[in-house]
Symmetry: C2
Subunit: 327 residues, 2 copies
């Protein structure tokens, strides 16, 4: 029997969003639970199963669900484990959590899991800006930077399942490089994520005397949103911060292109709300840094999926792709 629904789950540090997705890619029911209310993963899985069962409307039974697709930080597609996820309350730097196996013990539906950025890339490829594209790179510009690399229509997982950690490509070397959460220095995400933008703002405010609307705010708590709001009011420092950020992204994207020669780079996440403030310098510096064969040929796209349900759709699309091993 062809099963007409999948469930997409998007696990983040604060919440887990759950949606029922039909064959047309519509999220027909949606809910969310807290993912940080317990440090006990068993308890979290219980909450998740309960929420899934509750979410099913009367006319849809568990038997009509083809599979559960999950997007989660540090998730490994190959092993079905969440590995070393220090940003999840029930995870840790050293823990391996067999989430797929745990779920399958509690609920009789096949599950499949990938990391959140890969889920977003699958969603984009299935329903969004890269529909039909076989080679592209998805970059999520949020608190950190995530990436999903698509090669020949499939997510690049690499030898161990962890390919596509482009937020941790080293962009700046030497003693001035910014410290990253990963323990290393100079990672792309320390410069070009939402937090990177805020750090750039603080650096400039603390090391120069330039006038800026941002000086009206307590410097320690400046966010990328504050920088955006100052920039649209015409603040030169704020605009310059987006220029610097876009330049770094354009430069590093040129290196990514030299690696996998994608048709497009798709941007997703909070920082893309800055629109042309960041988009223009990205495209400019990408083309300044590309090998001649690629200049003017690599498209930079903005995600067409709503941030609120992109990961659910992506996780759902992953579930649709799962081989039907059950009868």
């Amino acid at each position: 029997m062809q099963k007409p629904y999948v469930i997409g789950v998007d696990i983040g540090a604060q919440t887990a969003k759950i949606g029922i997705v039909n064959v047309h890619g519509n999220v027909i029911e949606q809910t969310a639970i807290r993912s940080n209310s317990t440090a006990d993963v068993e308890e979290f899985v219980d909450d998740l199963c309960e929420a899934i069962i509750k979410l099913l409307p009367e006319e849809i039974s568990l038997k009509q669900i083809k599979a559960i697709g999950i997007g989660a930080p540090n998730a490994n597609y190959y092993t079905g484990m969440i590995e070393n996820a220090s940003n999840l309350k029930w995870g840790s730097k050293t823990k391996q959590i067999p989430l797929v196996e745990m779920l399958s013990k509690k609920i009789d539906i096949s599950s499949v899991m990938t990391n959140d950025a890969n889920a977003a890339a699958i969603g984009e490829m299935t329903y969004g800006a890269t529909k039909g594209m076989k080679n592209f790179i998805m970059i999520t510009l949020g608190t950190g930077i995530g990436s999903g690399i698509v090669v020949d229509g499939r997510i690049l997982y690499g030898h161990d399942g962890f390919a596509g950690e482009l937020g941790h490509v080293t962009m700046v070397r030497g003693s001035n490089a910014r410290l990253c959460n990963c323990g290393r220095t100079g990672c792309l995400e320390t410069y070009a994520s939402a937090i990177g933008v805020a750090r750039s703002a603080r650096e400039i405010l603390e090391t120069t005397d330039s006038k800026s609307l941002l000086r009206n705010l307590p410097v320690a708590s400046i966010t990328s949103k504050d920088v955006f709001e100052a920039a649209i009011k015409g603040d030169d420092i704020a605009k310059e911060i987006f220029n610097i950020t876009g330049k770094i992204l354009g430069e590093v994207f040129a290196n990514f292109v030299a690696f996998s020669s994608p048709e497009a780079i798709v941007l997703f996440g909070g920082l893309t709300k800055a629109g042309n403030l960041i988009y223009k310098p990205i495209v400019e510096h990408l083309n300044l840094n590309l090998l001649p064969i690629w200049q003017g040929k690599i498209r930079v796209l903005l995600s067409k999926l709503k941030e609120s349900n992109a990961a659910i759709l992506g996780a759902g699309a992953l579930a649709w792709g799962l081989q039907e091993i059950e009868n």
Copy 2:
């Protein structure tokens, strides 16, 4: 009928090497022609066909040849063209040469072509150090730096066929960055190829007063081989040059791993003859720069193929993989 032989062709700037390869991966006959004796590609293709026919021993007929595999600079696997190859006498920065099509008009055997670094990677995967590996990166450290990226057992070609230009990843930015043949500055190959090593030597000799055996040589003509010979005699400057080169390679390899998470990085080409002088700093700085999840886990291997016939074997292996469309 199962055809028991393929022909592997390795086109370089000076010579084209041609070999007959049997099913066991042995090069049973081998020859070479000059690839720079004419600027007319028709003439070159005539020479190539003539050499192939001549190479066949009496007991092997053209009908027993399954296919011709070709490795060439700037070759595009998708289109069968050599594109913008300014280092080939009959190529140019703007010319598109349909070599596969031209060959098929003159000789009745299917042909398939890929770039030289990809051919080396295919050879390595079929017969060499990465036999059986599904995910690795081949780096050729010659006059320039080439790369062949293998993902899930297949060469990564990308959208346009030109993926894997890792020699042109930007390593140094700013006004001090070295000028590259590609017209840009700071490319990896300006630092970590044979020519990069020679440039580093000249830079150090010209900007410091340090004692070195290399000072006995005319500075303008120093080669990477000179640096190697001084290093094995214990010359500190020469050893430091290999340390610097290995450090740059280790640093950039860590970024490559963040992209495709390979099981191994395989090194091939002239510079690998420096052995531990370059191998040790590569491994050291790779591990210093990797994300914790990969530290100590990425193998750095030296090619197991003889440089003289690696590309013939690789091109041959490409030919073996060609779908048999003829009867």
